[in-house]
Subunit: 217 residues, 2 copies
C-alpha cells in the first residue's frame, strides 16, 4: 500500500505547524490541503466531525485529529529522528509539559491578549510562562528536548514565534528579554532551525493579521 | 532496584480512580497515600509543584502527574493486559476520545451541575454526551475498548459512576436510560467489573458529599 499522507491545514495556525514540524523531522512527503475555515471542505467535516478543526492528518485513509496526538502518531509510525523520548518516564515528563502548554500557557496568553485582557490576565499569563522559564533554567539545555527539539518544543511553537508577533501587533509586551532570558534565547534557537523555519508562516502576514485584529492596522 | 510504587490520592476522586484501575489491571502492588487537599503533604507539593493535585504516581522516586499520563505510563512500563491499543492509529483514536472526555464532556457536566447551571448548560452537556453515545453505538462493542476496557473507558469512569450519583444528589437527570441507552448499559458493565468496583469509593459517601454540596442534605 502506498504511503499516502494528507494534511488538512491553515497556514497561519501554530497547531498546524506542530504537525508540519513533526512531518519535516521525519522527512515525510505529504499533500497539504489548505482549508477555508469560513467554508470548511467536505473532507475536513468528514475527517474531524467532532471538532471540525485543523490540523487533521490522513494517513492511508485513517484520520487523526488534535495536533499533539498527530505528533505522537507521526513519531510512532515513522522511525528516524525521535520526537518523544523512548524512556517511559522521560516520555511522561515531555507529555506533561506539552499538556501544560496547551492547558495553561496558551489559554492564559489568549486571555491576556483577548478583548477582556487586563492587568490580572497579564499577570496570570506571566505566571504560567515563568513556570516554563524555570523549567528551561533547571534543565540547562538548549531545547526542552535537550540538544535537540522534542514534543515540548514543538508544542511551544506558538510561544516561540506567534507570541512575539502578537506582542508587537497589540503593542503590549509580556515576555521581555530581561524577565524571560531563557525563553528568549530558546525561541530564537527554535525559530532558526531550518526544519522549523521552513514551515512557519511569513512574519509580515501574521503581523498584518494581528494588527487588524487588535485595531492597530 | 526494588519496584517501589506510591500513589498520592484522594479516595473520592474519579481522576485518582483512573490511576487505581490501571494499577489494578496490571496487578501492581502500591502504597496509597491519602491526601488532605486542605492541607497538602510536603511530598505532594514536591512531586507535583505545578498543579499540587492528585493523583501523583511515584515509581522508584520518579513522579508522574496528570491522570491520563499516569495511565499511559503504567501501560508502557508494565506488560500484561494492554490498556492502550498497540496499533498507532488505534492508539491515536483512543487518546482522542480520552482527551475529548477531559476537554469537552467533564467540563460541560461540571458546568451543568455548577452554581450557574441552567437549561443552556444542560443542553451543552447533553450534546457532548450524545457524541459519546453515538461512538458506543457505532462501535457496537461492550466497551469503548472493545470486549475489554481501555484508556477511554478508564477516562470515562466519572461518567460511569459519579454522574449518576451527582444526578441523584442534585435531583436533576441529564442521562436517562431512554436518551442514552448505550451509555447506560456501558456504565453498568464498567462499574460491575471487579477490578473497577474494588477501587470505587462507596456510593453512600459520595451521595452524602454531593447532597451537602447541592444543599439537599
Amino acid at each position: 500500500m502506498a504511503n499516502e499522507v494528507k494534511l488538512y491545514a491553515v497556514a497561519g495556525s501554530p497547531f498546524v505547524c506542530r504537525a508540519k514540524i513533526a512531518l519535516n523531522m521525519k522527512g515525510i512527503k505529504y499533500e497539504n490541503f489548505e482549508e477555508d475555515m469560513s467554508n470548511r471542505s467536505a473532507e475536513l467535516l468528514k475527517y474531524n466531525p467532532v471538532y471540525k478543526k485543523v490540523p487533521v492528518l490522513v494517513h492511508n485513509g485513517n484520520s487523526i485529529s488534535e495536533s499533539l496526538l498527530i505528533v505522537e502518531y507521526i513519531d510512532e509510525v515513522w522511525k528516524g529522528v525521535p520526537i518523544l523520548p523512548r524512556d517511559p518516564y522521560e516520555k511522561a515528563v515531555a507529555r506533561f509539559w506539552a499538556k501544560f502548554i496547551d492547558d495553561k500557557c496558551i489559554p492564559a496568553i489568549f486571555k491576556a491578549f483577548g478583548p477582556d485582557g487586563n492587568e490580572q490576565t497579564d499577570a496570570e499569563a506571566i505566571e504560567q510562562l515563568q513556570i516554563l522559564e524555570n523549567e528551561l533554567k533547571v534543565k540547562g539545555t538548549k531545547f526542552f528536548g535537550g540538544e535537540n527539539i522534542n514534543l515540548v518544543d514543538i508544542a511551544a511553537d506558538f510561544i516561540a514565534y506567534w507570541l512575539g508577533i502578537i506582542q508587537e501587533a497589540a503593542e503590549k509586551t509580556l515576555v521581555t528579554n530581561d524577565k524571560f532570558p531563557k525563553i528568549t534565547v530558546w525561541a530564537d534557537d527554535f525559530v532558526n532551525l531550518e526544519l522549523v523555519n521552513q514551515v512557519l508562516p511569513p512574519r509580515e502576514h501574521l503581523l498584518a493579521f494581528f494588527k487588524k485584529r487588535f485595531g492597530k492596522a
